[in-house]
């Protein structure tokens, strides 16, 4: 659906120049929810603007559908842009127009009659759940409602692609969640391809099928979301994955010499990581019954990503050293990562 070929975007200021996007090649399939994640300044917003050419890449090619956008004239590009909806972090609704007038904005001069425009806009406002706000001005809406209005506006010209530039970053966690659910629903019901730019790993985790991790203008890692979380390869990916889990907090506790980490004889602290799709088994009870060790769970974090459980546990294990070793061997044999963090 979307193909980016070796996109470079250079900004220059006098004799200093800076590559905001530095040679990115991406393929995004039809019907996918594709995440692009990175910290501020990684170049992800610039990259997404290269898809609809709000930013003209310094070099590289952009294909959307079967058209090469980078080869189109200005007016051809304008008509292609109508097939690519976009929503923004700060919603960008027009304050002087009511919600419904904002939604029909892209339809002016489209050849539709007024009645058709309003009918279409109302059906979209119903779809996003704010049809009762049609005649309100944006200033009277909450953040979540504003983003819903913006989504309705982005969808009104029946695009095949929806670009979301930090669309949930200005919203509180609950609203973020409801907007993500809405995006997922739109993806399912309309079959629209969604590109989600974010610095919130949770957003990727919730709805994306695949994701790319960006750092310094480059895509450093790309994978389906389960594998991205289960086997992060790059330090920046690991940093993002750690943000969504509390399993690394044990390190801080040990450093602080928390009473919890004062171990007695035959005790050790271990971290289990579910690497493959194996988290459903009754691990803890099995280990204590079979190897006669006590397991005290201090942190646990298990999530469902892409339909599969993923995560891990931090436990204090209490048992004879040979039993603990045997238990570790068993865990490795069923592909659970084991790491002894501290032992007495």
């Amino acid at each position: 659906m979307i193909r980016l070929e070796n996109i470079v975007k250079t900004y220059s200021d006098g004799d200093k120049s800076f590559n905001a996007v530095d040679g990115v090649t991406l393929d995004i399939a039809d019907g996918e929810i594709y995440g692009i994640i990175g910290f501020s300044g990684a170049g992800k917003s610039t990259l997404v603007r290269c898809i609809n050419l709000l930013e003209m890449p310094t070099s590289g090619k952009v294909f959307v559908g079967d058209k090469e956008l980078t080869a189109l004239s200005a007016s051809e590009l304008r008509s292609e842009r109508k097939k690519i909806g976009m929503i923004f972090q700060h919603f960008n609704l027009m304050a002087s127009r009511t919600v419904i007038k904002n939604v029909i904005f892209p339809l002016q001069y489209s050849g539709l009659t007024k009645a058709q425009m309003y009918e279409k806009a109302h059906s979209l406002l119903k779809l996003v759940g704010i049809d009762d706000k049609a005649d309100a001005y944006p200033s009277a809406l909450s953040g979540g409602q504003k983003q819903r209005a913006a989504i309705a506006r982005a969808l009104v010209s029946d695009p095949q692609i929806l670009l979301c530039d930090e669309a949930t970053s200005a919203l509180d966690p609950q609203t973020t969640d409801s907007i993500l659910k809405l995006l997922k629903k739109l993806n399912k019901e309309l079959g629209i391809t969604i590109v989600l730019i974010t610095h919130q790993m949770n957003a990727v985790k919730e709805i994306c099928t695949r994701a790319a991790v960006m750092e310094n203008g480059r895509v450093v890692e790309e994978n389906d979301v389960f594998n991205l979380f289960a086997n992060p390869q790059q330090p920046v990916t690991r940093a993002f994955v750690d943000m969504t889990s509390n399993l690394s907090r044990i390190n801080a506790l040990i450093e602080e010499r928390s009473p919890l980490t004062e171990l007695k004889k035959w005790q050790c602290i271990m971290r289990f990581k579910y690497l493959e799709r194996s988290a459903c088994e009754a691990l803890v009870s099995y280990l204590s019954r079979t190897y006669n060790i006590n397991l005290n769970i201090i942190f646990g974090n298990i999530e469902i990503i892409g339909g599969n459980p993923i995560g891990g546990l931090v436990v204090i294990a209490d048992g004879r050293p040979e039993d603990i070793t045997a238990a570790q061997e068993y865990l490795r044999s069923i592909n659970v990562g084991v790491e002894v963090i501290l032992s007495a």
């Binding site: 609809n52 008509s79 976009m86 700060h90 960008n92 027009m94 892209p106 010209s157």
Partner: protein, 226 residues
């Protein structure tokens, strides 16, 4: 009532028709020139905004020339402009005196000011809105009218109010060099003949006009802010 008015402003009561005529002349000068000032000011204000660095139609040459010409005209004192523009006025409207003669200098004196008002009103428009409109496939001319101008109506209304009131002040000055109007009436009939009540009466009329414009301006600005 007439006796009372006669006792406090005898000279004005004798010249009531003249006062009325002067008021009409002032309003004529203001609104005829305003029609041109509005059109040119919007055009130049928009041009300044879109040709600026990073603007919709970035064009350094156009921006620099426009910017400097506007600064030049704003720097020249209006009284000097009135005199310098006599030949221009004769060439365009055929006379340099009376209401018609005042129109050309009023336009030249006020367009640069109003252009800056328009420029600053448009600068308040969130660049995100322009970006969103571009992403929707809106044309550049569409962005100018449907985003920049439409979204800045409250700020434009404030700019129009300030400019109109300024313009009325300038018509009084134009009056002093033979353009008629309240300024001329106050100077010739009042100041030069030592009839202070005539001066005061023109001030009262001007205060009423200015207040009305301010009230209407505030109303439009308030009604268009959501």
């Amino acid at each position: 009532m007439p006796e009372f008015l006669n006792s406090i402003m005898p000279n004005v009561m004798k010249k009531l028709p003249d006062l009325w005529e002067s008021t009409v002349e002032t309003l004529e000068m203001t609104f005829i020139s305003w029609a041109f000032i509005f059109v040119f000011g919007i055009i130049f204000g928009v041009l300044l905004t879109v040709t600026k660095k990073g603007g919709l139609l970035q064009n350094t040459a156009v921006y620099q020339i426009l910017d400097k010409v506007i600064n030049l005209f704003r720097a020249v004192p209006f009284i000097i402009l009135l005199i310098c523009l006599i030949p221009v006025s004769r060439a365009i409207v055929g006379t340099s005196i009376g209401v018609a003669g005042a129109i050309v200098p009023l336009i030249f004196g006020t367009v640069p000011f109003f252009s800056r008002q328009v420029e600053s009103a448009l600068a308040e428009v969130d660049p995100g809105l322009v970006e969103a409109a571009e992403a929707m496939g809106c044309s550049r001319i569409g962005i100018i009218f449907r985003v920049y101008l439409k979204e800045s109506i409250p700020a434009l209304a404030r700019g129009v109010t300030i400019t109109l009131i300024n313009l009325i002040g300038l018509t009084a000055m134009a009056g002093a060099v033979g353009a008629g109007g309240l300024g001329n009436f106050a100077y010739v009939q009042g100041s030069q003949r030592n009839m202070n009540d005539i001066i005061y009466s023109t001030v009262v009329v001007l205060v009423v006009i200015v207040t009305l414009i301010q009230i209407i301006g505030n109303l439009v600005s308030k009604k268009s802010t959501h």
